[in-house]
Structures are given as C-alpha cells and as structure tokens.
C-alpha cells in the first residue's frame, strides 16, 4: 500500500482523536492548536518588544528624565526590539500562526502533511524564544549590536552583551531557522500535495498564495542567516576571521586577520531583504481576502494578484544590496540595485491598484476587519512611496542614517503588517474560537491605532529631512537642528505611549469574548472560502468530518448575477447554487 498522508485521507476512522488534555492542547499535532500556540507565543514576545520600544521613546522624548535608561540599555532595547518584531513576532505569526491555521482549512485537507514535524516546529520555535528571553538576564545582558548584528562591533569589546548576549542571540536564531524549516517544509508540501479535489492552484484563496510563496522565500533565504550566524559564532568562539578584520579593539589586538565585514552584510541582507517579503506577502494575501469578503465583490485581477506575488517573490532576491548603499560599494553596483529596487515597485503597485479597484463599487461593510484592511492600504502606500526615495542611491546616502529611514520601514513593515494581523485576527476570530467580540470596542481599537501610528511616524519623516540621526541615545552635537525637533520628539513619544495603551482594548475585547462573548454564526461574514464551510464550528480535529470537501469554483464568487445570496461557497456545485433574483450588489 502506498503512503497516504493523514492530510489526504478521506475517512476519519483511520485515526484516533487525541483525548487527553496534554495530547489535545500541549503536545498537539493538530494544525489549529499549533497555530494558536505559535500565535500566542509570538504575541507574547511581541509585547516584550512593544515594551522595549516604549522605553526607547521615553528616552528620546524626555532625554534627562529617566535615569534607569543608560546608553547600553538603549542599544540593547533597539536590538531586541528589532529582532523580536521582525523575526520572532511577524515571521512566526504570519507563517507559523496564520499559515498553520489557514493552509489546511483553506486547501480542504485534514491537517498538515507531517503533523509530528509540525509539532516539533512549534517546540523548536518556543525553545528559540526561551533562549532569546534568557539573554536578557545573563551577565552583561542581551546584545546591543543593532538588529543587523554587523561585525566587527557585534563581537568586539565595548558593545553591550558582547560575552553571552550575542552568543545566545546567534544560537536562538539558529534554532529559529531549524523550527522555520520544519514548518516551511510542511506548508509547501501541504499546498502542493494535500489540496482537496477541485482545488486547482488558480482556485486557491490569495491568503494561501501569499503564505505559500513567502514560505518558499523563507526556505531559500533563511540559510543565508544561518550561514552568517554560524560563521559569526566561529569568529566569536574559535577566533576565525571570516568577518573580523585585523583591528585593534580598545588598545588590545584581539588576534583577527583580514576578514570582511562587508561579506557579513551581503549574507545578512541576502536573507534580510527577502525577509521583508516573507512578512509582506502573507499580509498581501490575507488583506486581499479581507477586502474581497467585506466588499462583497470578487478580487480585482485575481491572476494579476497571483503573478504579482510570484514576481515580487522572485525580484526580492536581487535587491538586497540597496540596504548597503552607504557601505562604499561600486557605483555601478548601486545603479544595478537601485534599478531592481524600483522595478519591484511595479508588481507592488499592481497589487495596490487592484485592492483599490476591488473596493470600487463594492458593497462595502465597514466592520472591524475591513477597517483594518483599508487602513493597511493607506499605511502601505505611504510606506511604499518613501521606499521609492530610499531606493535611489543619491537620495539614500544623506537620508540613510536619519529618522526618515525609521519612519519608512516602520510604516511599510511595522504598521502595515500589524494592521493586517489585527484585521485577520478579527476576521478569523469567530472561526477560531466560535465566539464574537465587541464590534464597538474593535472599532475604537482600530481608530486609536490607525490615527495614533500616523501621529508617531508622519513627524518622523520631517525629523529625518531635518537631519535627526537615528540610533542615537541622545542628540549630542546636533546644533544644526532647531530646538523644536525635541518638542516633536516628545509629541511622538506621547503618541507612541497612547498607541501602546490602546492595544489593551484589543486584549480586553478578546478576553471578554472568550469568557462572555456571544456564540458566533459558523459563517458570520458570508465568506466563500472552505474554512467557513466546516461541518463543526469551530472545526474539530480532522476538520471535515467523514468526507473531504470538493471544490467547484474559485474563492471569489461574491455578488454573482442571478443568484439569491451574494456569495457562493467554493464547495457548492455549479448546478446547486440557489438561483433567485439578481442580487443588487452585482455589477
């Protein structure tokens, strides 16, 4: 008998439901439970990173008032904030969280194809988080090398956490990459092999497309981070000279010969730029499904959306050196990377136009997930436009070390994906928990977050143009700046604290929903995709009861003329869709 993965088995009687608390919720092999474990862990470390950013803002807004923040701490806060947010929160949440939850449900399979490896992936991720958190408490504290961990300073005396902090950071990254690889193999193989009958590639929801391509990027790009982490570990512990040049460190010769710090930068950004899209592509996919569902209209240009995701994925591998314009590279090199960087704006712009055109003449329901999705379009356009500035070498050189860059990447890679995360949580919450949340509280959460983040990051662009340097603990010799720059900094800090506090609304709402929330309808948004058509609500182990679903149409049959409802689920056959009056929403 040939091997048939659990994900593909048609009848449920071949497996045993996990029945004890431990097998059900702790050592679980169910993709939905693993998704929640990933999600909760990621949100937990995300809150640590949020706390760190609040500390940094306190120092920047009110430089002389908080004596417990010294320059060493400040650099540790920067480093850990960046690393946690990019890797341990966003990558883990989008792929480990949403990827795990949505791929099997949206593709119509019972689970991931390798549930055991999926479980290992989560526990390895948790281990990497634990190692990371331990590094806060070791002697010398966590590393303060900046989230890019550039040598030589990352492992040279004088940098905070140079003894144990940097070691634990590198080890934690290596464990994370192992965890990601186990998860990633599952996501790719499940999408390729375990789709239900009728689910052709071009009938997959864009969420799955985004997660699928992002996973491929991750599988090919994370090895670059692993290679650079191992080589830096060697430089640190075995005194090799992969990256470490012959330097004198604080009057002492540490014994390195002529290594190349630029080599590290190449390896790091060879991972680092695709990493931007590892976070962005799932966000693109999820937001497409949110917009289409809540606008009751098929996504505009589905095929273009798919190809744009693929094109962005491919292009993301040949733009990495635009992070290195200030490293003194050959101008022709810079020209090449500026060109590829601007080319990537084309598929990205296609996606933005298509989102806006999806809204055009749609029957828009401004529910909480939709607010976040539309908010994302705003922040992503603003963050994307400043990317066009920074993609050009001549503009990047003067702006590179200023707050303009901080504003740019927080807008495009911080706020935008986080808005999608919230939108997606509000959207799938009823499916995950079976409960509804308080709509009004959700709307308050949106408006405070959306307007608050603008109050943080719009002024930062101005600070950057004025020349306020980033990474600085205190202004220092910056007499060319007007005194009002400090007032602006104080205002930004107040906004940042406001936004951080506003997130409490989210947690209050979700906890209230779990404890006292009303039961939700199995398909409260009248969505077409398979996860809303499960026989149980919320779906049980194995997802589909006795028979796997069969798919007869794409995921975007909203407001089809000649049908009674304004949506037709993917598993409804062509001749079984309830016909009726021509629906008003159709055009």
């Amino acid at each position: 008998m040939s091997y048939v993965a659990f994900a593909d088995r048609d009848h449920e009687h071949e497996h045993h439901d996990p029945d004890t608390f431990i097998t059900k919720y702790i050592w679980s092999q169910d993709h939905k439970v693993i998704a929640i474990q990933y999600g909760l862990t990621a949100i937990f470390v995300g809150l640590i990173a949020l706390g760190l950013s609040a500390m940094m803002r306190l120092q920047l807004g009110f430089p002389n008032d908080f004596h417990f923040i010294n320059p060493e701490n400040y650099y540790q806060f920067i480093t850990m904030h960046g690393m946690i947010m990019v890797i341990y929160l966003l990558t883990a949440l989008f792929l480990g969280g949403f990827g795990n939850y949505l791929i099997p449900l949206m593709c119509g399979s019972r689970d991931m194809v390798f549930p055991y490896m999926n479980m290992l992936s989560y526990w390895a991720y948790l281990l990497s988080v634990i190692v990371l958190v331990i590094s806060f408490f070791v002697p010398g504290g966590s590393t303060g090398a900046g989230w890019t961990l550039y040598p030589p300073q990352a492992i040279s005396a004088g940098t905070p956490g140079v003894d144990l902090g940097i070691l634990l950071m590198l080890v934690s990254l290596a464990i994370f990459i192992v965890a990601f690889t186990m998860g990633g193999l599952n996501y790719v193989t499940t999408v390729l092999q375990a789709r239900c009958k009728g689910m052709t590639l071009m009938r997959m929801p864009l969420s799955v497309w985004g997660i699928f391509i992002a996973t491929i990027l991750g599988l090919l790009a994370f090895p670059a981070l692993l290679v650079s982490a191992i080589m830096m570990l060697f430089d640190k512990t075995l005194h090799t000279s992969f990256f470490m040049p012959a330097i004198s460190s604080m009057g002492v010769d540490p014994g390195y010969t002529g290594g190349s710090p630029i080599l590290f930068q190449h390896l790091f950004w060879f991972f680092g730029h695709p990493e931007v899209y590892i976070v962005a592509l799932p966000a693109f996919g999820l937001v497409s499904d949110l917009l289409s569902t809540h606008a009751r209209k098929n996504i505009f240009g589905y095929r273009m959306m798919v190809w744009a995701i693929i094109a962005i994925g491919g292009l993301s591998f040949i733009v990495w050196a635009h992070h290195m314009y200030v490293s003194g590279m050959n101008p022709y090199f810079g020209f090449f990377f500026a060109t590829t960087t601007l080319i990537i704006a084309v598929p990205t712009a296609i996606k933005v136009y298509n989102w806006v055109l999806t809204l055009w003449e749609g029957n828009i329901h401004l529910r909480v997930p939709m607010l976040f999705a539309i908010g994302f379009i705003f922040t992503f356009i603003h963050g994307g436009l400043t990317g066009l500035f920074l993609g050009n070498v001549t503009i990047d050189l003067p702006l590179s070390d200023t707050y303009f860059v901080v504003a740019h990447f927080h807008m495009v890679m911080g706020v935008s994906p986080v808005l999608v995360v919230f939108g997606a949580i509000y959207h799938w919450w009823p499916k995950i928990t079976g409960k509804m949340y308080n709509e009004t509280l959700g709307k308050w959460h949106f408006w405070m977050t959306f307007l608050g983040t603008y109050a943080i990051y719009l002024p930062m662009h101005y600070l950057g143009f004025a020349g306020v340097p980033r990474r600085y603990f205190a202004m220092g010799n910056t007499d060319f700046l007007p005194a009002s720059a400090q007032d602006l900094n104080a205002a930004i800090t107040i906004s940042a604290l406001f936004v951080a506090a506003a997130q409490l609304l989210f947690f209050i709402n979700m906890i209230w929903s779990l404890v006292k929330g009303p039961k939700s309808d199995p398909n409260p948004w009248h969505a077409t995709t398979l996860e809303w058509q499960t026989p149980d609500h919320p779906p049980k182990h194995g997802n589909w009861g006795h028979h796997l679903p069969e798919v007869h149409r794409w995921a975007y049959d909203y407001s089809v003329p000649g049908y009674k409802d304004d949506f037709i689920p993917q598993n409804v056959p062509a001749d079984k869709a309830p016909a009726g009056r021509d629906h008003g929403g159709a055009h």
Binding site: Y3, M202, L220, F242, L267, R303, F317, D557
Partner: protein
C-alpha cells in the same frame, strides 16, 4: 554572491516554469468540472508527498551550501588567504562515499523489485561505508590539527573545517534515518512498503550528499 544567485536562478526558474504552466491561460472564475488529478502536486498523486518534501528540503540544503560557497569565493580574494593542502586521506573517503551511494542504489533497486533478502546486507554495507566516510573525515581533521593547520590560523583552514563539518552533519542526519530503517529490517519488524519508501528516499539523499561532496572536494582541491 554569483554562486548563490546562479543556484537561485535555477530553483526559481524550475518553480516559475511549473507555476506558469498551471496558472497561465486558466480562467479561475469559471465553474466547470475539474479533472480528478488537477489538484495533485507537481509529481503526481498523494504517494509522492514525502518525495516532494525531500526535494524541497534538498533545495534548502543546496541554498545553504551555495551561500557558503559564495562566501568562500568572496573571502578567497582577500589578502590574508593562504591556500591549504588537503590531506590525501580525503581521496579514500571520497571513494567510500561513492561506494556507499552505489550500494544504496543497488539496495534500492532490490527493494523496488521485491528482492527483500538483499535489503539487509545492502543497508548494512552502506552504513559501514558511510560511517567509514565520517570517521575518515574526523581522522583527516586530526591530521590537519597535528600538522598545525588550526581553524583560526587561516581563513582557508576555517572554510575547510566549516564546509567538511557542515557536510558531515548532513551525513549524520541521513544516518539517523538509515539507522531507523535498518533497525526495523534487522529486527524483522519492518512493514515492507514503509522500508521500501525509506530506502528510496535515503538513496536520493545519499546521491545528493555525494554530489555536494564532489563539488566541495573539487573546490577545495582547485583553490
């Protein structure tokens, strides 16, 4: 970084070719019946699932080694690089790894043709040869240490230890899977189909690591 880019171009071209074939000229909004096999993966039905996963993993490992080779090429051009003479023992090790691959292929063919009696000797011989390779690599390291070629004395040495070490770790990973299959065969608790699948996948993995080794060895010899 040209090496890494060249490798990526090959992977992405393969992937893009397959994706375009399945997404071009498709009208996703139409609700027509789709043939039974349309949802199957690139290599066919559900029985290819583990093979797809293995190939994906090999792409990840290739990316890993391609990136080290890129770093090697970049670092080699800097002033302090002193080429290293590889120990002669590596030739013996290479022969052992080639032999292991050949015996594994023979075992696989036997397993596919249902000649289960050959499984046991085939697996055992492969294991001995592969273990011999790993031990040989360790001895080669010791020879280098004894002649004063430490990891920190020169970047060429550092890359030698890194590359051979990374390769050996991947071999050990393969040996773990081999050990589980062999244990079942020796104890006689094996489900024939399951062992056959293990052997087929292991054979691919062994050939792949042999190929990686030949590339690495060639590079080390020529620089």
């Amino acid at each position: 970084m040209t090496i890494a880019l060249g490798f990526l171009a090959i992977i992405l071209a393969t992937l893009l070719g397959w994706l375009l074939k399945h997404t071009f000229n498709v009208a996703p909004w139409e609700t027509e019946t789709v043939s039974d096999t349309a949802h199957h993966g690139p290599l066919g039905g559900v029985d290819k699932t583990t093979l797809i996963a293995l190939l994906t993993f090999l792409a990840v490992v290739s990316s890993f080694f391609a990136l080290i080779l890129s770093a090697y090429a970049l670092r080699m051009d800097l002033g302090d690089w002193v080429p290293m003479t590889e120990p002669q023992l590596l030739w013996t090790n290479t022969v052992m790894l080639i032999a292991a691959s050949i015996v594994f292929q023979w075992t696989r063919n036997a397993a596919v043709n249902g000649q289960t009696s050959r499984l046991r000797p085939g697996l055992l011989i492969t294991g001995v040869l592969t273990l011999g390779f790993v031990l040989g690599q360790i001895v080669a390291w010791q020879q280098l240490q004894n002649s004063g070629h430490y990891i920190s004395s020169n970047p060429a040495n550092a890359f030698f230890y890194f590359l051979t070490g990374a390769h050996a770790v991947h071999i050990l990973g393969g040996l773990y899977v081999w050990a589980r299959a062999t244990q079942k065969v020796v104890l006689g608790t094996a489900d024939v189909a399951a062992v056959r699948r293990s052997v087929e996948l292991c054979t691919i993995y062994w050939h792949f690591l042999l190929l990686v080794w030949l590339v690495l060895f060639g590079l080390l010899l020529s620089t």
